[in-house]
Symmetry: C2
Subunit: 388 residues, 2 copies
């Protein structure tokens, strides 16, 4: 147990020691000391890996605006900011709060998010925030989940299709993420989704494998090219800070992923999507994902502000409901996150299905009139464009 003791003494200077993947980029004395301690104690490493005890590295976290207490107690989170699990949890709690507060500010009658903190019998839990039937937002959900345990065969299968190949039918795992779908009331305001997540899996040989995934995409009901450009440009800015190759790659991936196959069209005008990100280092991956998370408010809020008081009538509402039906189809038929979620034992389905719209409509053979604004949007969905 001496290794853990050493780790606890690390303090903030160990911030660059990014958790269990053992990337050591900092060269400060305490870190070197710790490395010695770690490597001198195989048992400790095994212990911490097996029981997912957070490593020590204290960082004062400002949790005053978070929507709830975190899943892991704040003290543990603060003391273990060099463990990626703790670092991610703090980050997603903060992003959840930033987004929720920014959305609440757009509610003229003071509607607030309902906050549900839940625990999962099998390990972990989440904080689900939902604002329903607001003036600006018909249904907005921003969900944090931090879960661990054993993945069942169905969920392992979902992972396999993500390019991971595991021989086992079941696997120990840790998953933490923030995910959100915002369905505004006014059809002139697009729906927006984002999700950033971190995974750890221990394979058959006891090797810990980690990766990040995530993305954000915009689903307008009526196309405003300036809005689409603004959204993409903001996400591109977040990507470019880390790797100029990210945006083009992840923009394309987004168009491919958010594709409603049976309709032959994308869910919306896209954004970015990535999965299985584990390079160049855990720390750099974290910082990239954090930038993407921080880009949500500047990418989306101005679009809501600009359009939320636009005029609309019965026809526009009907089109919005039809398109929300398409949205539900994507989420229930194709979305891997939804499938993965519903296959995880003890999954809280209310949080997973929070992404579904408050209202949706399926008219048989509904087709927009040629030349209409609805048809114009459909054309773009069938042939994704470059926006930046």
């Amino acid at each position: 147990m001496r290794g853990i003791h050493f780790l606890k003494q690390l303090g903030t200077s160990g911030k660059a020691l990014s958790g269990l993947s053992l990337y050591f980029t900092s060269r400060s004395k305490p870190v070197r000391y710790c490395i010695t301690g770690l490597f001198a104690s195989g048992i400790t490493l095994y212990y911490t890996a097996k029981h997912q005890v957070c490593h020590a590295a204290t960082l004062k976290l400002d949790s005053s605006k978070w929507m709830s207490e975190p899943l892991t107690d704040l003290n543990t989170l603060e003391k273990n900011q060099n463990d990626m699990k703790c670092r991610v949890e703090a980050m997603i709690m903060r992003i959840q709060a930033d987004v929720c507060h920014a959305l609440e500010e757009l509610e003229p009658e003071g509607d607030k998010f309902l906050v549900d903190k839940w625990h999962r019998a099998e390990g972990g839990g989440g904080v689900t925030c939902v604002l329903q039937d607001g003036v600006t937002f018909e249904k907005a959900g921003v969900n944090v989940s931090v879960v661990h345990g054993t993945l069942p065969p169905g969920a392992v299968q979902q992972m396999k299709s993500r390019g991971k190949n595991f021989k086992s039918q079941t696997l120990p795992f840790f998953a933490a993420g923030v995910s959100s779908v915002i369905h505004p009331r006014n059809p002139m305001v697009p729906t927006m989704h984002f999700n950033y997540r971190y995974f750890e899996v221990v394979d058959e040989g006891g090797k810990r494998i980690w990766w990040f995934g995530g993305g954000a995409d915009l689903t307008p009901y009526y196309l405003d090219e300036k809005d689409a450009k603004h959204f993409h440009k903001t996400l591109k800015g977040a990507c470019d800070k880390h790797d100029k190759g990210y945006y083009p790659r992840f923009k394309k991936w987004c168009d491919e992923y958010f594709f409603i196959k049976h309709r032959g069209m994308t869910r919306g005008v896209g954004g970015i999507f990535f999965d299985d990100i584990d390079e160049p280092s855990q720390d750099k991956c974290f910082k990239f994902v954090e930038s993407c998370g921080d880009a949500i408010v500047p990418a989306y809020i101005p679009i809501v502000q600009k359009n939320k008081n636009s005029g609309y009538g019965y026809a526009e509402r009907q089109w919005q409901l039809i398109r929300r039906g398409h949205y539900a189809e994507f989420n229930l038929i194709y979305d891997r996150g939804t499938k993965f979620g519903l296959q995880t034992p003890g999954a809280r389905y209310e949080s997973i299905l929070m992404s579904l719209p408050l209202n949706a409509k399926w008219e048989y053979r509904h087709e927009p009139k040629p030349g209409s604004l609805e048809a114009k949007l459909t054309e773009v969905l069938k042939k994704p464009r470059e926006w930046v």
Copy 2:
């Protein structure tokens, strides 16, 4: 080509020669003559199998009330009523018409089904009948499809999970069926679904495998025990005529199949469900399925008649919309028919998704008040009952 010529001369006496599976139960002269002709001509057998040409056995079909011309021309259908493919097509065209006309009679303002006959580039087509936004029915769809071609890997996979095991990635297939979902407007009238289908697949060794499947189930928004009993009793009557063991087995199968796993509850109060039925003979299977099809009108129509003018208010409508959300979840996440359909190349998604309600609602964490009628229904959904 002589074999085909012989077959064409068969006439109605060959009715018991049930198509390509080569069950010969009739012993009349022309049939024996034909058998000789068939076996004397391996090439003919190959030809008919490969091109799915219907075999000869003339039966005058009354198509005057059918919703459209059949997919196969009427003359061919009439002349080949000993081919199960033709026999099934005539049966499903008739059942479609019977159900549609019975529903139309309940529309006080004379709303009629819209009839869409469609063709599939890869082979076959269908007749989709939809009545939308009627006074009695908010959305009612009754769909016939008769398709053939090659099954893609995804669809073969769907079949494998149905207890069929094929080594091939792709398989030649024929599928014909009638499927229907009726969503009434009044929340006191249950939604009803039925589907009867016939499959033929040619395996790796050239062996033709056939089976029937189907079922019918009732989804009330408010539980009327008498209605549930009537529905089950009528279906039981249809089953009992053929095998006393069918109803108990297929009732249980229905509760298991129409189960919304993540909610831990059935879709409704059930009915019957069966798949992979290929015993005791093709003819007996057909007759059983036909009885089930004929039971739809007497099982459902009296329930609609009884409740369609019941009073209801905003709260009941809201509950209906919430439950329609659950219905959409089942169809999009779990239903094998929907999955199979969407994975079939050239699938007409409008016909497949016709089952979705006109309107649905997803409220976060909606739960019926304890002791309410809504809660009473939910209890039954969580613990299926015996109704007969």
